[in-house]
C-alpha cells in the first residue's frame, strides 16, 4: 500500500481532496494501460509471469486430480513465509521464497508420511496439514505484527494478495520461475504427459515416475510460492485449478490445454490486477479469482464441444433429425404400400401409419417442408379437416434420405436374423434405433457381409441405389408449378 502511495502522488492527493472513491475510472484505466507507473508495470509483469507458471502447472494439477493437494500446499507455505520474513526482518523476496518452499515441501512430506504410517484417510491427512501448518503461520504472523518491523512490512498482503505491492525483485523471481516452468514443460513434455495419465505404462517404458513426480512437486511449490504475493495464500489454488479446468472444457489435447490454461491464467491475472487497481488497490487475489471463474462460466456454457448450451443444441438437433427421418420413413412406407403408384402421400395416411393425430402429422410435415425435405400440396386453411387431405411429396434430398433410412433399417434386420441369429420378430425394435446412426462405411460393410440382399427378413424390398436414383423423377412434380404449392 505504502509503495503504491509513493508511486502515485496524484492518488494521495485525490485521497486528500475527496476520498478515494472519487477517482475517475477512465483516468485510472488510462494509467493502468499506459504502464507509466513502476508499480503498475510490476503488477502487469507479475500477473503475466504468475499466469504462465500457474497455468502450466495447473494443467498437470487438474489432469492428475491434485486440485485439493494444491490447496493444501498453498496453505502450508504460510509458516515459511512468516519465518522467512522474521529471519530477514524485511520483505526480502529470497528469504521468503526459501522459507515458503521449505514449508511447502515439508507439508507434502508430512501428508505422504501420515498416509504411509497411519490409517488416516487422504482427505483428513490433507486437512490436518492444511490447517495445522496454516495455524502455525497465523501464530507467527500475529507475533510479527507486534514487532517493530512488522507494521510497515506489508506482510498482511500475503493473505489476500496485492499485485501493486510487488517489488522488481519479486517480479524478477516470478519471471525466473515462469521461464523454469516453460523449460520444464518443453524438456519433459513426454515424460510428464505419460506419467500424468498412465503411471503403469510410464514405468514399463522406463520413465522415472518418482523423479517426475518430485520435479512436478518442486515446480508446483515454486509456482505457488512466487504467486503468493499477487493472489494471496487462500486463493492461490484457484489460479492453479480454474484456468486449467477452463482449458479442459475446451480441448482434448494436453499441448493445447497447457497453452489455453496459460492464456486464461495470464488474462485472469491481468483483469484481476486491473479490477483491484480500479477499486483503489483492493486485495488483488479475489479479483483474479473472479476473472478466472468468469472465463470458466463462459466455457462451461458456451464451449464448442463440451459447453452446456452447445451440447443442448446438438441434442436438440439430433432429436429433430430423428423426427424428420421417422416422418420420411413413414412417407416411404405409405408409398411402398401403394406400390409406388403415387408420388405423394396424404397427411391423413401418414398419421394413420404413425398412429398419431392428424394435427401432429401435419406439424411434422410442415417441419419437413421447412427443412427442404418435402413439399406440401394443400389449401391455405389449417386444421385437421383440411390437413387430412394435404398431399406431401418428398424432394430428391428427402427421397434419398428416406431410402437410406429404410435401407439401414432393413439391412440391420437382415444382419440380425442371418448373422446374429435373432428371431425375425425380435429385430424391429433394435433396427428402429440404429437406423439413425449407421454410417456410410458400416452400411457398405453390411452389404458385403449380406451379399447385396434385395429382401429383408419380412419380405419387403430393400431400396437399392437405383431406387434412390429414381427419386430424381419425383422432383419434377407437376404441383410445383401451380399456385397450390406451399412455399418452403
Amino acid at each position: 500500500m505504502l509503495l503504491v502511495f509513493f508511486a502515485f502522488p496524484a492518488l494521495v492527493h485525490a485521497t486528500r481532496i475527496g476520498g478515494v472513491t472519487d477517482l475517475d475510472w477512465s483516468e485510472q484505466t488510462f494509467r493502468f494501460l499506459s504502464l507509466r507507473d513502476a508499480a503498475v508495470r510490476n503488477a502487469v509483469l507479475g500477473s503475466v509471469f504468475m499466469g504462465v507458471s500457474c497455468g502450466l502447472f495447473g494443467g498437470y494439477v487438474v489432469a492428475r486430480r491434485l486440485a485439493l493437494f494444491g490447496d493444501t500446499l498453498s496453505h502450508a507455505v504460510l509458516p515459511g513465509v512468516a519465518l522467512g520474513f522474521l529471519w530477514s526482518r524485511t520483505k526480502d523476496p529470497l528469504a521468503i521464497f526459501v522459507g515458503a518452499t521449505v514449508a511447502g515441501l515439508l507439508g507434502t512430506v508430512v501428508v505422504a508420511w501420515i498416509r504411509k504410517t497411519t490409517r488416516v484417510k487422504e482427505d483428513s491427512a490433507l486437512g490436518l496439514v492444511l490447517s495445522g501448518f496454516y495455524a502455525v503461520g497465523i501464530c507467527i504472523l500475529t507475533v510479527i505484527q507486534e514487532m517493530e518491523f512488522g507494521n510497515q512490512s506489508g506482510i498482511d498482503k500475503f493473505l489476500f494478495g496485492q499485485a501493486a505491492a510487488l517489488s522488481s525483485e519479486d517480479v524478477g523471481l516470478m519471471g525466473l520461475v515462469a521461464i523454469g516452468a516453460l523449460l520444464m514443460v518443453t524438456l519433459f513434455n513426454k515424460e510428464l504427459l505419460v506419467t500424468s495419465f498412465d503411471e503403469g505404462f510410464a514405468r514399463s517404458v522406463g520413465v522415472p515416475v518418482e523423479f517426475m513426480r518430485y520435479v512436478l512437486l518442486v515446480g508446483l511449490t515454486f509456482a505457488v510460492v512466487t504467486s503468493l504475493q499477487a493472489v494471496g495464500v487462500v486463493l492461490v489454488s484457484a489460479l492453479l485449478i480454474t484456468p486449467a479446468a477452463t482449458a479442459y472444457l475446451l480441448t482434448d489435447r494436453m499441448g493445447t490445454l497447457l497453452l489455453l490454461s496459460t492464456l486464461f491464467g495470464v488474462a485472469g491475472g491481468l483483469f484481476g490486477s486491473y479490477g483491484s487497481f480500479l477499486g483503489n488497490n483492493l486485495p488483488t487475489g479475489p479479483f483474479m479469482v473472479l476473472a478466472c471463474t468468469s472465463f470458466f462460466v463462459v466455457a462451461f456454457f458456451c464451449g464448442p464441444k463440451h459447453g452446456l448450451i452447445s451440447k443442448w443444441l446438438r441434442r436438440r438437433n439430433r432429436v429433430r433429425q430423428v423426427s424428420f427421418e421417422n416422418t420420411m420413413k413413414a412417407a416411404y412406407q405409405v408409398l411402398e404400400a401403394g406400390d409406388f403408384s403415387k408420388e405423394s402421400v396424404t397427411v391423413g395416411a401418414l398419421a394413420a401409419r404413425r398412429r398419431q393425430s392428424v394435427a401432429e402429422a401435419r406439424r411434422e410435415a410442415d417441419d419437413l417442408v421447412k427443412a427442404g425435405f418435402a413439399s406440401l400440396l394443400c389449401s391455405d386453411h389449417t386444421g385437421p379437416r383440411y390437413s387430412q387431405d394435404a398431399r406431401l411429396s418428398l424432394t430428391p434430398a428427402g427421397w434419398e434420405r428416406a431410402c437410406q433410412i429404410v435401407r439401414n433399417h432393413r439391412l440391420w434386420e437382415l444382419y440380425l436374423t442371418n448373422e446374429a441369429r435373432y428371431a425375425a420378430d425380435h429385430v424391429h425394435e433394435d433396427a428402429e434405433k440404429i437406423e439413425h446412426v449407421l454410417g456410410e462405411k458400416v452400411v457398405r460393410h453390411l452389404e458385403r457381409i449380406l451379399k447385396d440382399p434385395r429382401r429383408d427378413p419380412h419380405g419387403s424390398a430393400i431400396p437399392s441405389l437405383e431406387d434412390i436414383e429414381r427419386g430424381a423423377g419425383l422432383s419434377t412434380n407437376p404441383a410445383s408449378a401451380t399456385g397450390y404449392f406451399r412455399q418452403n
Partner: protein, 325 residues
C-alpha cells in the same frame, strides 16, 4: 514493541496470572474455545468418517459471502441473518459442485476447488468494499478474534446474565449438536460407514447427509467469528483423528472429544498468553502438537507402537528360527 520472537518463559505470568488478575475474561475465552472445539469435534467425527474433510473446508470458505451479505443487509452481527445467509451459501455450494461435476467433464476435486475459491473471493470483495473497517475485518475472517469475545455485549434472558452473546450462542450450538448426535446416533453411524446397509434398513441416506451438512453449517457460522474460516477445519478434523490413535469405536471417539477440547482450549490459551499471538492459531497449534504426540505414542497404530510391533515380530521370528535349528 517486542524485540525477540520467544519471550522469556515465566511460569507465573503465563499460567497463574490470567487466572488471578483477570479471571472472568480468561474463563470466558477458555470456555468459548472449549465450546468451539466441542461442537466442531462432535460433528467432525462424522465428517472425517465420511471422508468429507475437504468438503468441510470448502463449505467453511464458501459460507463467507452468505455471512457478508447478511452483514450488509442487517448491518449487525445478527445471528439469525448470518445463519440464513450461510445456509443459503452452503446449499449453493453443494448445488454448484454437483452441477459442475455432473454437467461437465471437470473432476469433482477441481469442481470443489473452483466453487469454494469463487464464493470466498465474492465474500472477500464484499467485505473489502462495503464492510472494511466497519464491522468485519478481512483478516479476522481468516483467523478469528476469540480474544475479543469477553468484550461483546451480554446475553440476558429473564434477568439472568448468560455471559457474552457469542459464548451463549456457541454453547447452545454445541448442546444442539450433541443432542442431534445422541438422538440420531444410529442413523448417522450406519449412513457414515455403510450406505448400502443404511438403504436396506430403510434409512434416509440423503436426509442424513443434508442434515449433517446443515448442522455443519450452523456450527461453522457460530464458530466463525471466534476461529475464522480456515481454522474451523482444524477443529473439525483434529479431535477425531487424534482420538483414533487411542480408540477405534465411534462412541469412544465421540467421548474423547470433550477432554481433547478442554486440552486444546487451555493449552491454546496459555500458549497464546506466552507468545502473545492469535489465540485461535495457538489452539490449533496445540491440537497439532497433541496430534503429533498421539501419532508417535498412540497405542492404536502410533509410530512407536508400529516400531515395537515390528521389532517383537522380528524377535519372535528369530527365536522360532533358533528353536527350530
Amino acid at each position: 514493541m517486542r524485540e525477540e520472537f520467544f519471550p522469556t518463559f515465566d511460569y507465573g505470568s503465563v499460567f497463574v496470572d490470567p487466572w488471578l488478575s483477570d479471571i472472568e475474561s480468561t474463563f470466558q475465552v477458555v470456555l468459548m474455545g472449549f465450546f468451539v472445539c466441542l461442537a466442531c469435534g462432535v460433528i467432525g467425527n462424522f465428517v472425517v468418517a465420511r471422508r468429507l474433510a475437504l468438503v468441510g473446508d470448502a463449505i467453511s470458505h464458501s459460507l463467507l459471502p452468505g455471512i457478508a451479505i447478511a452483514f450488509v443487509f442487517t448491518s449487525s452481527r445478527s445471528l439469525p441473518a448470518m445463519l440464513i445467509g450461510a445456509t443459503v451459501a452452503g446449499v449453493l455450494t453443494t448445488v454448484l459442485i454437483e452441477l459442475i461435476h455432473r454437467k461437465s467433464r471437470v473432476k469433482p476435486d477441481a469442481a470443489i476447488g473452483i466453487v469454494f475459491t469463487t464464493l470466498f473471493a465474492v465474500g472477500v470483495v464484499i467485505i473489502s468494499i462495503w464492510l472494511d473497517n466497519v464491522h468485519l475485518d478481512a483478516d479476522c475472517v481468516l483467523y478469528g478474534e476469540i480474544g475479543l469475545v469477553p468484550l461483546r455485549e451480554s446475553f440476558i434472558l429473564g434477568g439472568t446474565n448468560f455471559g457474552p452473546l457469542p459464548i451463549a450462542t456457541m454453547g447452545t450450538v454445541a448442546l444442539l449438536d450433541i443432542v442431534l448426535v445422541v438422538v440420531f446416533y444410529r442413523v448417522l453411524l450406519v449412513t457414515s460407514f455403510d450406505v448400502g446397509l443404511a438403504r436396506s434398513l430403510g434409512m434416509h441416506v440423503n436426509a442424513a447427509h443434508y442434515g449433517l451438512m446443515i448442522a455443519l453449517a450452523l456450527t461453522i457460522v457460530a464458530a466463525f467469528e471466534a476461529v475464522g474460516v480456515v481454522l474451523v477445519v482444524a477443529m473439525l478434523i483434529f479431535p477425531a483423528v487424534t482420538a483414533s490413535f487411542f480408540y477405534e469405536r465411534l462412541p469412544a471417539l465421540l467421548l474423547g472429544v470433550a477432554p481433547l477440547s478442554l486440552a486444546y482450549a487451555l493449552g491454546g490459551f496459555h500458549l497464546a498468553k506466552w507468545l502473545d499471538c492469535s489465540i485461535a492459531g495457538a489452539i490449533v497449534v496445540t491440537a497439532g502438537i497433541l496430534f503429533v504426540l498421539a501419532w508417535v505414542f498412540g497405542p492404536k497404530g502410533g509410530l512407536f507402537w508400529q516400531w515395537s510391533l515390528s521389532f517383537s515380530c522380528q524377535g519372535g521370528a528369530k527365536s522360532i528360527a533358533k528353536a527350530g535349528s
